[in-house]
Amino acid sequence: MPVTVFNKEEIHKSLVEVMDPEIPTLSVVDMGMITGVEETVTGVRVKMIPTFTACPALRVIKEMIKSKVESLGYENVEVQVDDSIIWNSDRITPNGKILLENFGLGTPQRHAGNFGLEEIAHSKCPHCGSEDTTMNSIFGSTLCRSTHFCFSCKQAFERFKPV
């Protein structure tokens, strides 16, 4: 097979199809996990960052990214955890937030590193849009979620927490 010519744009585009295993409608790009796509001497390096230190899906995500880029015809694809950048929820793209809501999760507000219990506790209901909600627990079914209840539509919901 002829070696594919490095095309950063193309690789980046393909990564939009690599979904977060815990939120399968959201890509690693919308999640803000991709920090760089580089050409190396022999192939391609994709740099990425995990959302949480203890993210159990990290290995799977790395493998998914690798095989996606390989499917474009690239060889020697390396997926590297980027130690120079720290993930936070402000990195989720505006499109990512819409996808989170469509998935049924409340979204984190932008915080620029400055937020407390009030911001953590308050979430708009992803089902009916009401602000009349309460937080049941700052933990949820995955590390990135807290659990809430909406007084307006009387539904429990989870929210992607601000981190």
Binding site: F52, A54, P56, N88, F139, S141
Partner: protein, 239 residues
């Protein structure tokens, strides 16, 4: 630090399926997952920067007297009150420790600490919420919280047992030291304990030894259980 996270993470995980209410079951399970992840991240730095054994070996194949965790984290969970007060005492110290280390001259640790402190924020909030709620709830809950605090206080002071490298760490601006950490910790937790209507024990005598490998009889059974699966497999097995 890594041993603290590892042992405490396993203790927290023992609440999985046993929590007094579902939310607490989930909370302890989530925090356990964070702690073990933090342990792994710390062991990985040791492996990468100092060529130690790999994280699995460090976590599962060391003897009791080679574990450097403070004794506070190895104590059995007892009842929920005991676990909750320990969680409060330990996680505030842990949060401040990582906050201090986020400006460490040792870059890999500084970078990791910036990440971890953001996650620990949730652990601390969780602890504060329940401590103040139960300290002020019924007579029974109040008495239980106070007696757990009395019982755990000296162990908590053992978190700050200085290592033999204390002076060097401070001189090289890697860490400001256990004394500074303890001072910041007291300043942070005192008003919260007061808000919870509880009292810090007046007499204190720190339980040291953990950092040098001396442990209670509650650690070995935990280590045995932790290594039960890995020991049953052929050497080098990976999951």
């Amino acid at each position: 630090m890594a041993d603290d996270e590892l042992i405490y993470g396993h203790r927290m995980s023992e609440w999985t399926g046993m929590g007094p209410i579902m939310e607490e079951d989930i909370a302890y399970s989530s925090m356990a997952q964070d702690k073990i992840g933090h342990a792994l991240a710390n062991y990985s730095i040791l492996e990468k920067e100092f060529q130690t054994a790999n994280p699995d070996k460090l976590a599962f194949f060391r003897k009791e007297n080679e574990m450097m965790n403070c004794q506070l984290v190895e104590l059995s969970n007892h009842e929920y009150d005991f676990s909750l007060v320990r969680h409060f005492l330990f996680d505030h110290a842990d949060f401040i420790r990582y906050e201090m280390l986020s400006t460490s001259s040792f870059a890999p640790l500084a970078q990791l600490s910036k990440k971890i402190k953001g996650e620990l924020k949730y652990h601390v909030l969780h602890a504060d919420t329940w401590l103040t709620r139960l300290g002020n709830a019924t007579d029974e809950s109040h008495v239980r919280m106070q007696s757990a605090l009395n019982e755990l206080w000296n162990y908590a002071l053992g978190i700050f047992e200085p290592s033999d490298f204390e002076a060097q760490l401070i001189a090289e601006k890697i860490f400001d030291g256990e004394k500074v950490l303890q001072q910041k910790w007291i300043e942070k937790i005192s008003p919260i304990i007061e808000k919870a209507n509880l009292k810090i024990p007046t007499s204190s005598s720190p339980v040291y030894g953990g950092r040098k490998g001396y442990h209670t009889d509650q650690l070995q059974p935990l280590l045995t259980e932790m290594a039960e699966v890995i020991s049953s497999e052929a050497e080098g097995t990976e999951w």
